[in-house]
Each structure stands twice: as C-alpha cells, then as structure tokens.
C-alpha cells in the first residue's frame, strides 16, 4: 500500500471514508465486545418497559438503586430532574442504570477546608455496602493527616463515631440524613428525598465531552437563589466512557460569606423542604435547615440547640461529642471549599469491615 497509489476522490467520500474507518477502529477496541452486549441489554431492557429513563424519572429511584445506593447516585440525583438538557438527562439515565447494579463502593475523598480555616486538608476514604437484608453500611475514614485521623460510620448495629484518640461513640441511628461531619467539615453524602428534591430544583446543567479520552462530564451549577441553602455551588460528575459509572465527583462551594453573616443567617427561618435528621439518636448535624426554635430568654437559637433532646448524646459524654456539640452551638460551620471523590475499585466488603474497630478494608 503506497500513498502515491491513492486515487483522488471527492471531499464527501473522503470524509465519509475517514469517519467510517475511525468508527471501525473504535469498534475494534478490546472493551467493545462487552460494551456491545451492554448496549443490546440496555435496549432490550427499554423494550421490556424497564426503561432506565422512565425509572430514573420516578422519584422513588433509590428503591431501584438498592436503598441508600451510592454517593454517585446521590449526586446524580442532585441534578437529575433538570429536563432542559436532554443530553445530560440521558447521560444520567445511563449512569443510573450502570450504578444500580453496584452494591459496594469505595471513593477516595479529599476535603479542602473553607478559606481561612486553619489546618490541612483532610483525606480519607468512604466505603458503602448496600445489603438486601438490612440497612446500608457505611464507613468514612479520615486518615490524613495522621494526627487528625478519625472515622464515622454505620455498621449492622447502628451509627458510630471514633475520635482520633480511639474513643468510640455509639448512636442508635442507621442512616445519616444529610451529611457526615468530619473535623468540623461537612461531607454531603446522604440520599434523603427532601435533600434531593430541593437540590434538584436548583441547578443548571451542561455537559462536556473530552475529545481525547471521551470522558463525559456533567456540570451542575447552582441557580441563584436566596434560600440560604448551603448545597454545593458547582457539581462536576465525570462518567467513565466504558462503564457509564461515575469515576469522579467534585463538589465546590463559593466562599464569599463571612462567619458572622453565616451565624446571622442560621437564625433565620428557611422555607422549602426540611432536611432535619430522621428519628433516632446521633451526632447533631451542622447546617440543619429546619426552622430554628424561637429565640429563648438567653443565648438564642444556638443556646437552645446546645441542650440535646432525651437520648441524644450530650456535652461531656466524650470528647468527640463535645467537639460536635460545641461546633453546632457556635452556628453552622463553614462549608468546605471543595470535596473530591475519586472512585477506586471496591473490595468485597463484609459487615465486619464497617465496625468502628475495623481498619478500612483494602
């Protein structure tokens, strides 16, 4: 085959040849066999009325995704109900279909603190295990920097927290309603419908496709609202082109407001769905969006919240809880500047991996 032997052809024919050969080469990739089968299965699932789009547009999607599902599914949901961007909608449907089969997940997590916050960024991992016969198990292990390591989780018995010094607190709850708190930072993670509904209504969606590696990124930008919401201002979701699974999530918060303003805003009643914790005991949450109690004679709302309801761990119970309570009594903490989730292959978790005394599963 020599270059000189090629006869001159029309531009359209040449372009078509080039495109078609490119398509054939794409189809010759090793992963294409699996992708081709998945394509047919997805199509037939649609034919059999198990259309991922239709399923996903049902707000009870999380039942399909296996209860708590995954962080990925949670964050997808945050942007799912935007129908103005057909492309994004379809990508999300594909991702949801892919993620719905996943029962064990691990993400490496990096929390970058708010501007002006002393201390290093926190790094660790989150493990999730959906179970058919019980609540989902979860473990958030902060392991860097080493001198601030601590962990939160939910095992078969319920919720737990473990301080840096190794003191374990037990809570009766089995689900984290809106977030897990780590070292004064919030980690948005949970899947309660109220959060999803509220966040879903507040984002504009666009998509980007990297022409080199074909990675699709969904970009959700929070609409300008005056609802006092502390949900992320921007969410980036990178979708693996081969598996349709989320491979990276980045949540970003603007940092323009000051702590004094934040404390003031925390005392204002807020509209919209409440994001309060579900029943049961547990560590108090930051950024509770329930209308605060009426101002009391002394101390204001923060003072009222300092006294835990019956059964809830109170100040003095142990240093970990004390720290939590102090933080809340001072008003909502700053949102982090950024949280990055990098997906890593999940091990075959067992229930024992989610005990507070276990080390993070490798």
């Amino acid at each position: 085959m020599t270059e000189a032997s090629k006869p001159r052809r029309g531009d359209a024919a040449e372009q078509a040849d080039d495109r078609f050969v490119e398509a054939l080469l794409e189809a010759s990739k090793a992963e294409e066999a699996v992708a081709a089968e998945a394509r047919i299965r997805r199509g037939m699932a649609t034919v059999r009325d198990v259309d991922p789009v239709a399923v996903a547009s049902n707000r009870r999607w999380w039942a399909m995704a296996g209860g708590l599902g995954s962080i990925a599914a949670v964050m997808m949901l945050a942007v799912f109900f935007q129908t103005s961007e057909v492309r994004a909608d379809r990508i999300i449907a594909r991702v949801l279909a892919a993620e719905s089969a996943v029962t064990a997940l691990r993400f490496d997590v990096r929390l970058e603190g708010p501007e002006g916050r002393a201390g290093p960024d926190l790094e660790g991992s989150i493990d999730l295990l959906a179970r058919t016969n019980g609540h989902p198990l979860l473990r958030f292990e902060v392991d860097r920097p080493a001198d601030r390591s601590h962990a939160w989780g939910v095992d078969a018995r319920g919720g737990w927290g473990r301080s840096h010094s190794g003191i374990v607190s037990r809570f009766a709850r089995t689900a984290w309603s809106t977030r897990i708190m780590g070292d004064g930072l919030d980690l948005l993670i949970d899947a309660i419908p109220g959060l999803l509904d509220r966040v879903a209504e507040g984002y504009e969606l666009t998509t980007e496709v990297d022409p080199v590696d074909d990675v699709t990124t969904l970009i959700a930008v929070k609409r300008e609202t005056d609802d006092g919401s502390k949900s992320p201002n921007r969410i980036r979701i990178e979708v693996d082109p081969n598996t349709d699974e989320v491979r990276r999530l980045v949540l970003e918060w603007d940092q323009e407001f000051d702590p004094a303003e934040r404390r003031r805003s925390s005392s204002k009643p807020e509209g919209g769905p409440h994001l309060g914790r579900p029943g049961g005991n547990g560590p108090p949450m930051q950024f509770d969006r329930r209308p605060p109690p009426p101002p009391g004679p002394a101390g204001g709302p923060g003072e009222r919240r300092r006294r835990p309801p019956p059964g809830r761990p109170g100040p003095g119970r142990n240093p970990l809880v004390d720290e939590v309570m102090r933080t809340e009594s001072q008003g909502p903490a700053s949102p982090p500047a950024r949280i990055t989730f990098e997906r890593v292959p999940a091990s075959a978790f067992t229930s024992g991996d989610f005990l507070p005394t276990a080390t993070a599963a490798g």
């Binding site: 495109r19 189809a27 199509g43 034919v47 022409p211």
Partner: protein, 188 residues
C-alpha cells in the same frame, strides 16, 4: 429472503418466536453496522450511544409498521439518521454532517451489513489485515491509540511529537486503511 425470514427459519415452527424475541435477534445481527454508521455520523462515542439507544426504542415502537419484505438494516439506519438529527436539534449542537457524507456512510454500512451477515467476523478480519499492512510508523500509532487505550496526548508524549502531528499521522493511517478496505469490498 428478508431478515425476518432468515430468523424465523431458525425457530421451531410449532413455537413461533414472539415479536420481542425476533426484534432482539435482529438488533443483535444489525448492531455492528448500526453502531459504525452512528459513530461515523456523530463522531462522539457518548452521543453515538445515545443515538443507538434512541434508535433501539424508536425501532421497537415502529416494529409493527416495518415492511417485512424489506431488509432491516437500511430501515434501522434511516431511523438512526433522523434520531441523530433530532438529538442534535434538541441539544442545540451543530451537526456537521452533510447529506453527501451520510449517503456514502449508508453505502459503507450496507456493505458492512452484507459482509457480516455472511461471515460474522469478516469485517474484523478485514480491518485487522489492513492494519497489519500499514507501514510501521502508521501501524504503531493505530495500535497504541485504539488497542493500547492511550490518548492522543499520551501518544504524542511517548513519540516526542506534538498532538497535531499525531492527529495527522492518524488521519493518514486511516486513509491507507480505507484504501485497503476498498480493495476488499468493504468500502465503496
């Protein structure tokens, strides 16, 4: 013999396949050329997947209307073409494929369809043979990019050349592959 007759001959006449079963077999038979046609039209894998799935749904909804005396492949590709145009309009993205190119792609896909119907691995073998005949410097870039899961920027870095140079070499390699496939009857 139409595609449907071809399939129904494989089944036990006492237990005729359901429309759903027939449809699945037809889609499996035609998925290769449909995806090649779609990818070549939109030149974006993620979008091609969307078009494929939408085509799948539309084809099923209209399956009762399909003229069973006609071949399934061209009907499917017609749906894919209209679906791609529709999706582009909805997402307000530019669809830079003119009719002349689509006509040639249709011709290529029809040949792909004929070859794959008679020999399932025929197209793959033709492509592999053509790649193996490329001069080394062209074959290497094809192998690394499409078989080695590397990106253009990674190939550029590894070969100590710029991304644009790699893209040009790729385009030239694809041109040579096209010439080779033409001699084998896959391209018109």
């Amino acid at each position: 013999m139409s595609d449907l007759e071809f399939e129904s001959n494989q089944s036990d006449p006492r237990d005729p396949p359901s429309a759903e079963e027939v449809f699945e077999v037809l889609m499996r038979q035609n998925a290769g050329h449909l995806m090649a046609f779609t990818r070549a039209m939109v030149r974006n894998n993620a979008l091609a997947e969307d078009v494929f799935q939408e085509t799948f749904m539309v084809a099923w909804r209209r399956f009762e209307d399909f003229d069973r005396d006609r071949p399934f492949g061209p009907w499917l590709r017609g749906i894919a073409h209209r679906t791609a145009l529709g999706l582009m309009r909805k997402t307000r993205k530019e669809f830079a494929v003119d009719t002349a190119i689509v006509d040639v792609l249709e011709s290529h896909a029809a040949r792909y369809e004929r070859i794959s119907m008679s020999e399932e691995s025929g197209v793959v073998e033709m492509l592999n043979d053509c790649v193996s005949r490329l001069p080394d410097r062209y074959r290497e870039v094809i192998e690394v990019l499409y078989r080695g899961k590397r990106s253009i920027s990674q190939v550029a870095e590894a070969t100590d050349s710029g991304p644009e140079a790699v893209k040009k070499r790729l385009q030239r390699a694809r041109g040579m592959i096209a010439d080779c496939l033409r001699t084998k009857g896959l391209l018109a």
